[in-house]
Amino acid sequence: MRECIAEYGALVWSLARRLTRTPADAEDATQEIFLDIWRSAGRFDATQGSDKVFIAMIARRRLIDGLRKKTNEPPMDPVEALETIAWSDPGTASEISHEAEQAAKALKELRPEQRQVLELGLLHGLSQSEIAARLNMPLGTVKSFMRRGLIKVREFMKIDAESVSARV
C-alpha cells in the first residue's frame, strides 16, 4: 500500500492537478483514483501496457467524469495560457513511461493543428465541441484530427511493441 502510493502518488496527483481546477478538486480526484486503482489492481496486465499507462487510464476515466460534471463552469484557462503548457520535451516522457515516449514521437509526426487538438482534449480536458469553438474549427475536423491522432499514437505503440518482441 505504502509502496503503491509512493510509486504512483506523484503520477496520479500530477494528472489530477492538470485536469482539475483547484487543489481541493485535485485532492478529491486523487483519492477517488487511488480507490479505483486498488479495486482494479487485479486486472493489471503487463502484456497490455505498462503500469504507468494502466494508472493513467484509470485516472483519466475518473478525471473525465469530474470534468463533465463541471461543464457549466467557465473553461479553466484562456487559450493563451493553454498554449504555454504544450508538450515540448519528449525526453520527460521517456522518464515516465516507454509508451509516453512513443506517444511523443507520434505527436511529432502530426501537423501542428492536429497536435493542438489532441493537446486541448487530452491535456486540458476540453470536449471536442469546446476545442472546435476555441480553435474556430469545424467540429467534424476536430473529430477527424482527434481520431487520426489517437490512431497514429496507437500505431507507434504497436510498432514499438512488435519491434521489441521480435528482438526477444
Binding site: E27, A46, Q48, R62
Partner: protein
C-alpha cells in the same frame, strides 16, 4: 492490435463514438447508440484508444509529489478498503502470481514491451480478456448506482479478487458517503476559502450538497484542532429561499488535534430550498441558534 479493434474495417460512426467516450464521455443516448455496434469490436477498440490517450496524457507531465496530508489520507483510505474488502495490492495482484508461472512457461506468448517488460513480474495473461469483457459488460448493461468508472472496471461477475462472504451492510463512513455524493451529477460542490483567522491558516476545503436528499458534507484539510470544552466549529448554510441574514444551522463539529483532514456531515436544522453558500464559525460549546458570524474561519458561495 487485433483485427477486431481499430484495424480491419472499423465502423466510422462507432470509432467516432469511442473517441468521444475517451475524450469527454458519452450521453445516455450516445451510449445506447454505441450498444448497437458489435460489442467485442467496440470493446477492443475502446481499450486501444484509451491506452493511446493515456500514453499521450503522460507526455510532458511534470511529476509533482502530493501533499503530505493527502498522502496520509490515501494511506488511511487504502487500509480501510483493503481491510474491508480484501482487495489485492496493485503491486502484488493475486492474479499476477498465478500468471507469472504461466508466463515463465511460455515466454513467447508474452512479448516484452518497454516498461511492460521491466514490470514483467506483474504479468497476468487473463487480464486482457477480463478488461475487454469488463468493458463489454459495461456496454451491455446500464451502470449501477456505484461510481460509473468503478463499476466499469469492476463488474461483480468479473471480480478477480477473492470474493468475501456476504457481510451485513455497514453504513457508509462520511468519506464514503461524500464520495458517493460527488459521483452524482446533481451534487453541488463549493470550494471553501479560509479567512485570516489563525485556525484557518493554510486550510483547504469544500462543501458538497445534494438538494434532493438534503444531505451534504464539509471537507477540510488543515483545519486546526479544537478543544470541545472551550469552543466548537459550527456550520451555516445560506439558503437562497430564506432571509440571508439568518443562515440555517448545519450542526457543530470538532477537529481532533491530530487530524489533518476531516469530513463532516451537514445536519441542516431546516429544509434548504437553495443552498447558496456555506460558512464555518467558531462558537461556544454546543453552538448557537443565531450566529453573529463574528468568528468565521471558512466560507464559500455557489458561483
Amino acid at each position: 492490435m487485433s483485427e477486431s479493434g481499430l484495424h480491419g474495417q472499423p465502423d466510422d460512426a462507432m470509432v467516432d463514438l469511442l473517441v468521444k467516450q475517451v475524450i469527454e464521455g458519452l450521453s445516455p443516448a450516445e451510449q445506447r447508440e454505441l450498444e448497437a455496434f458489435d460489442a467485442l469490436r467496440a470493446g477492443e477498440a475502446l481499450v486501444e484508444l484509451e491506452q493511446a490517450a493515456a500514453a499521450v496524457s503522460l507526455v510532458g507531465l511534470t511529476l509533482e509529489e502530493p501533499p503530505a496530508a493527502l498522502r496520509a489520507m490515501l494511506q488511511r483510505r487504502g487500509e480501510e478498503l483493503i481491510g474491508a474488502n480484501n482487495v489485492v495490492d496493485f503491486k502484488r495482484p493475486s492474479a499476477a502470481r498465478s500468471a507469472e508461472a504461466t508466463a515463465a512457461a511460455a515466454p513467447a506468448a508474452n512479448p516484452v514491451r518497454g516498461d511492460a517488460g521491466r514490470s514483467g513480474t506483474l504479468g497476468w495473461l487473463a487480464a486482457a480478456a477480463c478488461l475487454v469483457l469488463a468493458i463489454l459488460g459495461w456496454l451491455r448493461s446500464p451502470p449501477p448506482a456505484a461510481p460509473a468508472d468503478t463499476a466499469r472496471l469492476n463488474p461483480p461477475a468479473l471480480q478477480t479478487s477473492p470474493v468475501p462472504p456476504p457481510a451485513p451492510p455497514q453504513p457508509p463512513t462520511p468519506t464514503e458517503a461524500r464520495a458517493a455524493l460527488l459521483a452524482r451529477s446533481d451534487t453541488l460542490k463549493i470550494t471553501l476559502a479560509p479567512t485570516k483567522d489563525p485556525a484557518a491558516a493554510g486550510v483547504t476545503g469544500d462543501a458538497v450538497w445534494d438538494p434532493a436528499t438534503q444531505k451534504g458534507f464539509l471537507h477540510f484539510v488543515g483545519l486546526a484542532g479544537n478543544d470541545p470544552s472551550v469552543k466548537q466549529y459550527q456550520i451555516w448554510v445560506f439558503d437562497g429561499k430564506r432571509d440571508k441574514r439568518y443562515p440555517v444551522d448545519g450542526g457543530v463539529f470538532d477537529v481532533p488535534a491530530d487530524s489533518s483532514e476531516v469530513v463532516i456531515p451537514i445536519r441542516a436544522a431546516l429544509p434548504i430550498g437553495e443552498a447558496k453558500a456555506f460558512a464555518v464559525t467558531v462558537e461556544k460549546p454546543g453552538g448557537v441558534v443565531v450566529s453573529a458570524l463574528g468568528h468565521v474561519v471558512a466560507l464559500g458561495a455557489a458561483s
